[in-house]
């Protein structure tokens, strides 16, 4: 195991300069919150929809390099895609995190940089938190969740 597999340049770069860091107004956007109580990470993810199209995603929060970079990469991967495409990407990413030997799907694109966490089981939760939170924000859109009580996702 090499640390450089985990902390690839893409990860370090997105940690230092997170993309789409900020907030969206609710409504029209939808929000969910994520927390990793073990390490104290907290995350807020906003998603803006136009029908089936994800037009914008933003996030805010405190966390380790893996969780910040994963959230940042995720926003880039989601914006401008349909919900179905985002869902497919979620599943690909999830598969990478949870299957040690799964071959990397070329459709992952830049997200393949996250694959290093597979060798660091204690860190998978850091990487997956943002994705679960985005999922919850999309579910909130379906459920017409009141803005005052965004759903909260917790990793344990």
């Amino acid at each position: 195991m090499d640390l450089k597999d985990l902390y690839r340049d893409v990860i370090l770069d997105h940690n230092k300069r997170p993309r789409n860091f900020g907030v969206l107004a609710v409504p029209p956007a939808h929000e969910a919150r994520g927390a990793n109580p073990l390490c104290g990470d907290t995350l807020r993810v906003w998603v803006q929809l136009d029908g089936e199209l994800v037009t914008d995603v933003k996030f805010e929060g405190k966390g380790c390099a893996i969780s910040v970079a994963s959230a940042s990469l995720m926003t880039e991967a989601a914006i401008g895609h349909t919900r179905a495409e985002v869902q497919a990407q979620f599943e690909r990413v999830h598969n990478v995190f949870t299957h040690h030997d799964a071959p990397l799907d070329p459709a992952l694109g830049k997200l393949a940089a996250l694959a290093g966490v597979r060798d660091f089981p204690a860190r998978v939760k850091c990487a997956s938190l943002a994705w679960h939170t985005l999922n919850a924000a999309l579910a909130a859109a379906d459920a017409d969740q009141p803005a005052a009580t965004p759903p909260t996702v917790q990793t344990e």
């Binding site: 640390l3 902390y7 370090l12 390490c39 104290g40 990470d41 390099a65 660091f120 860190r123 850091c126």
Partner: protein
């Protein structure tokens, strides 16, 4: 007995105690099999003793020997093995009583750990004696184990929990405590040594004030007992709780010391076997102390191991342990402060060998992974002390916590690993 060290032990008092020499530390390390391994291709530097300490061979052997030769249930059989097991278990209690200088074995309740000890007090004492509006003072420095049980019993009784502030260097604020006292103050819950920052609180003066006013004093000694001689009579507290596994003993063992009169006045907490004298459907009479608070089959082997751990630390000497750890603390503090961007959280004048720190631009969780790759085990996170993290406005810290078997070379390994992390990140 296995696990002899090559260290010549002389009686030493705290004042004149010398740190162990490098040769003595090497001999002591030989008693701890787990320390001699590679982690991620590097020699293990175990600097997470505050979370759980490692076991000398004599402790491991005491447990294994018990299972090989003497195991049976205790207090309930006339056969030979049961008698042997009972004797060994009660011998461990006796060692623990002497270790903390309790007046008698009736004052030494054996529990699963600090957490259970404090829950026992909160439930058995608190539910009986707390009234709505009574005030429980809990320091902001406490481990969640000395906070959450009080929140629970406050909900159950209508009592209220009030936080005692801490100072910027991470000590419980004595004046802040005095300012909080009211005629309704009933409980003071205070740690002897903070697990998150290492602060040694001057608990004697808090206890003196509390006693004068009839306030129950509950001291969390989990981080103190492994590192300094503790005399509960000299401290004068009502309750003192600690865990075996931080004292080089097995997990699932702990102690609750309580003043006998208080324990007598408290109803049992858990009911079941061992804690009764006579059971009828019309009514049950409870066993005498300490058994009244020990329902069910305990961790017999664990306490026999803990007895061996007490023997071990007494043989090598708590005063020398303390002197050795203090030297490690000074060395580590100086070395860590030389790392650019590193900030130590918790700078009280009196500290145990615990250093909590953050490094600019690197989240503690990332530090934990990088250090682990270098063979260095530290704890990262909130250390079960979220109010402390909130006070210092950090989400988490990295924490190195030392034992007498750690070496300056391991501290150098930690510092080298931190430099490595900085190269990667900064």
């Amino acid at each position: 007995m296995a696990g002899h060290t090559g260290v010549a032990v002389t009686a030493s008092t705290a004042a004149n105690a010398q740190p162990f020499s490098a040769a003595e530390v090497a001999a002591l390390r030989a008693d701890f099999p787990i320390l001699h391994q590679q982690v991620n291709g590097k020699p293990l530097a175990y600097l997470d003793n505050g979370a759980s300490a490692q076991h000398p061979r004599s402790v491991i052997d005491a447990e294994a020997d018990y299972y090989r030769h003497d195991h049976s249930n205790i207090h309930r059989g006339v056969h030979t093995l049961s008698q042997r097991a009972t004797d060994a278990f009660e011998a461990a209690r006796h060692k623990l009583q002497r270790f903390i200088n309790a007046r008698s074995e009736r004052e030494v309740i054996l529990t699963r750990g600090t957490t259970e000890s404090i829950n026992l007090i909160a439930q058995a004492w608190g539910r009986s004696f707390l009234q709505p509006g009574d005030e429980i003072l809990v320091s902001r420095l406490e481990h969640h184990a000395n906070l959450v049980p009080w929140q629970i019993v406050a909900c159950q009784t209508g009592a209220v929990v009030r936080p005692i502030p801490i100072t910027l260097d991470g000590e419980v604020d004595f004046q802040g405590f005095l300012d909080l006292l009211t005629p309704r103050t009933r409980v003071l819950a205070l740690s002897h040594v903070s697990n998150s920052l290492g602060t040694i609180n001057p608990i004697e003066k808090f206890i003196a004030v509390a006693r004068e006013r009839g306030i129950l004093t509950v001291i969390d000694g989990a981080q103190a007992v492994p590192h300094m001689a503790v005399d509960v009579q000299a401290l004068g507290c009502d309750f003192y709780a600690f865990s075996g596994h931080k004292l080089f003993g097995p997990t699932g063992t702990g102690v609750l010391y309580g003043r006998e009169a208080l324990l007598e006045a408290m109803p049992p907490w858990m009911g079941g076997g061992d804690m009764i004298l006579e059971v009828r459907f019309e009514g049950t009479t409870f066993n005498t102390l300490p058994h009244k608070f020990e329902a069910g089959t305990p961790n017999i082997a664990g306490f026999i191991g803990l007895g061996a751990a007490v023997d071990y630390v007494q043989r090598i000497g708590l005063a020398r342990i303390a002197a050795t750890e203090e030297a490690l603390l000074h060395y580590a503090t100086a070395q860590l402060l030389a790392v650019p961007g590193l900030r130590i959280i918790g700078t009280a004048p009196h500290k145990a060998a615990v250093i909590s720190f953050v490094v600019d631009g690197i989240h503690p969780h990332d530090l934990g992974t990088i250090l682990d790759q270098e063979g260095v085990a530290v704890r990262t996170g909130h250390h079960c002390a979220m109010p402390v993290m909130e006070f210092f406005d950090v989400p988490a810290t990295a924490r190195a916590s030392f034992a007498f078997y750690n070496t300056p070379a391991e501290i150098d390994q930690l510092v080298g690993a931190l430099q490595h992390a900085r190269e990667l990140f900064c």
